[in-house]
Symmetry: C2
Subunit: 446 residues, 2 copies
């Protein structure tokens, strides 16, 4: 479809350029022009569906770089408990009953919520099965995604089969909407040998199914809590003297295709390794606070020039998939902790949620900003709301005052997936109904 979006404030996220009374033109999947409305209206007259963005802002769709999408099924099932009790007595016992169908239903619910909140790309890590899975859910919803299969030492054989299936069936599939990642769970659940092997597998799968333009990435939890080096010591009888990143680097697994989720408990040495290897970060402030993991040294990483993107984490640790909440929390948290109000200004936080997210997923050649030649992944936000009034600075409003519910329309890969808050490809009532059904089924199995 060809689109002309006109008369809006276009926040390009390319060199922080903002175009007032702006317009952009989409042909097929791609943005082909960006500029002033009066010029583009003259140039692109016929054959373009018009979207009036008056009083609205147009931004690149938000990029959520850390999710476990299917876990929406457990949203609010259990909160406010000590971590081990929460995992062992509440989450794991119910999670083990989840079927491939349940995973699909949960991921579809998260895809729905994500789109309704202006998110156009989600990086998710969960259990993959060929029949039904998160990749299918995202593709069915029209959501862009990087989909991984989480790997553990205790199920190597199963993992390897799943990884191969996932890459073959889904990498760069559905018009390039879905990409695949290799996801070692963490340094304490994946032994050193398996970690190296998973790196090798990424390389092989990338040669077979990917390319430097369409790479498979490596998605791993790192340093989520303070006791991680202790957990590694216990699990593998290893002493980590120079920090967790140095440990991973010595295994030879770190490079620019690695996205490390959390990075809460880091030492300075970790950051210099990350910088040297080009490791990217997904910062999930709400999950880190709610699970009491602590506060990631984000200002320091940013100062080091490390790419820091934003993620919601799974919906049973957050408990939403709302990137607006994440932006606001990231923007205010580090100011308050460091007692420095100049840290993480609104412009930088919006970059973290868009172009930096694209970089973190090695996808910035196609998404993350509104630029000619990039894919049309867009969110249109209505600013005519009391809580966004009066208007001074749209970027400030997006980070500090806007809500997921202010997103009016969403376009992914040139296709309108939400308009006037109605989803184009999904029946929201049915998505919710199915999730309730799955929930009841899970509770019955306990």
């Amino acid at each position: 479809m060809n689109l002309l979006i006109h008369d809006g404030t276009i926040i390009t996220m390319h060199n922080r350029k903002v175009i007032l009374q702006g317009a952009l033109v989409v042909e097929g999947e791609t943005i082909v022009d960006v500029g002033k409305t009066r010029e583009l209206r003259r140039q692109y007259k016929r054959g373009y569906e018009k979207i009036d963005a008056k009083g609205k802002v147009v931004i690149p769709g938000l990029i959520n770089t850390h999710q476990h999408a299917a876990m929406s099924l457990l949203r609010g099932y259990s909160d406010d408990l000590p971590l081990q009790e929460w995992l062992e007595k509440r989450i794991w016992p119910i999670e083990k009953h989840m079927t491939a169908h349940d995973v699909y239903v949960g991921a579809l619910l998260t895809a729905t919520e994500s789109i309704m909140g202006g998110t156009t790309t989600v990086n998710t890590m969960y259990h993959y099965t060929p029949e039904e899975n998160e990749a299918k859910a995202f593709a069915d919803a029209g959501l862009r995604g990087v989909v991984g299969h989480v790997c553990f030492s205790w199920r190597k054989k199963e993992d390897k089969k799943a990884l191969r299936d996932l890459a073959r069936n889904w990498h760069n599939k559905r018009d390039g909407l879905i990409r695949v990642s290799v996801d070692p769970h963490s340094p304490y659940t994946v032994d050193p040998e398996y970690m190296r092997e998973l790196k090798e597998i990424r390389k092989e799968l990338n040669q077979e199914y990917g390319s430097s333009r369409v790479p498979l990435i490596w998605h791993i939890h790192v340093a989520e809590t303070d006791d991680e080096t202790e957990k590694i010591r216990k699990a593998f009888k290893m002493e980590l003297k120079e920090g967790i990143m140095k440990y991973l680097d010595l295994l030879g697994v770190l490079d620019e295709y690695v996205i490390a989720a959390h990075c809460v408990s880091l030492v300075d040495k970790d950051m210099s390794v990350m910088k040297k290897r080009g490791v990217k970060v997904s910062h999930s402030p709400i999950s880190n606070l709610k699970l009491a993991s602590g506060i990631s040294p984000v200002p320091k990483m940013l100062k080091e020039g490390i790419t820091v993107s934003l993620g919601t984490d799974g919906p049973c640790a957050n408990n939403t998939a709302d990137m607006f909440e994440i932006m606001k929390t990231a923007a205010i948290l580090h100011k308050g902790v460091a007692k420095d109000p100049t840290l993480l200004p609104a412009e930088q936080v919006l970059e973290m949620a868009t172009i930096e997210g694209a970089k973190a997923l090695a996808w910035d050649n196609e998404i993350g900003s509104i630029e000619v030649g990039k894919k049309a992944d867009l969110a249109i936000i209505d600013l005519k709301k009391p809580h966004l009034c009066p208007s001074y600075n749209a970027v400030s409003h997006l980070v500090y005052a806007a809500k997921a519910s202010d997103v009016e329309a969403v376009i992914v890969n040139g296709e309108i997936v939400m308009e006037n808050r109605k989803l184009a490809k999904l029946d929201v009532e049915k998505v919710m109904g199915n999730a309730e059904k799955v929930k009841s089924g899970l509770l019955n199995k306990l």
Copy 2:
């Protein structure tokens, strides 16, 4: 009007009682019955307007215990600057041009946003003038409020006239919807002598216009930042050896009618004084983080048995009036900082936003919970949304996943002020249009 709200989940906030398939009956301003739908439907047949709350939760309206409502006019005008530069170069130069009419327009915008977010009571501190003011704005919107006039040493004469006018014109007016407070700005801007005088004035005004059932309260910023004792030393040549609360206590101004906003930079001694005197706290975590003031020792205050309520602070320091954001931020922040996920569980946080807020405003005889005999201040929240699906625990969803935009109906003092997200007493377009006009006028005066 008489109302029967039926078939909802009634979260009473009275002894944490939750009624499934519940109903409540309102006659005039007052809740006259609460129970199971099947019983109340039989009992209250005719003469009651019915509100179907199926799939919804009914809660006492949220109580925002610290606001500067008119400052919505400066929402997003300036962010991310060092505090003194922000105040001296940005906020104060524009604020000084605000007229009485501007204050009314700004407060009306905040009242609109508050109601749309399920807030039924707001405690606001700003500049009072008899012609137009925040009290009138709240009353016109149908919002319950405690309205104060902020006092400074440099304008004692003006202040005293304003206080008297405010109390006479507004305390316990408009069917008791509006109450009045005496608001010394802070211990560093109000000298010791004036502080004592303002305490005396509260007593006199309370004798003249209030009562023990309808008291005037005392609303003050305390210990917002670490340098407050230093500011007092500089301003009044006084050394505070035992903390700021002890200083105030020695002035004889602390009692159970004092609500202290912020309380970020406290020492243990402060807390024992607060406990002894029954001082209440308004915790504004978003403002404290965004302005880089720091993190209030809320878990410790709660452990001491101090009443801690929640506030948004003014919309140019937050930048919203959204109590759902505040609940989630309060619930997660202290867990993360203390690395203890059991702190501030959802139930407790919802109490802080309702019944504890009512206590903090010395208004818990009439509001803060759904109980027979109390005023009908209610918010009805629609849970049939993807981000609130599936349903396990309504209280968890309210604190961790719900948004202001999920509030469907709001009742204040027995009157429906919002239904299906449409305000009953205000034209939202006009409220926003007027705020934009005032904004333009202010910018022109710079």
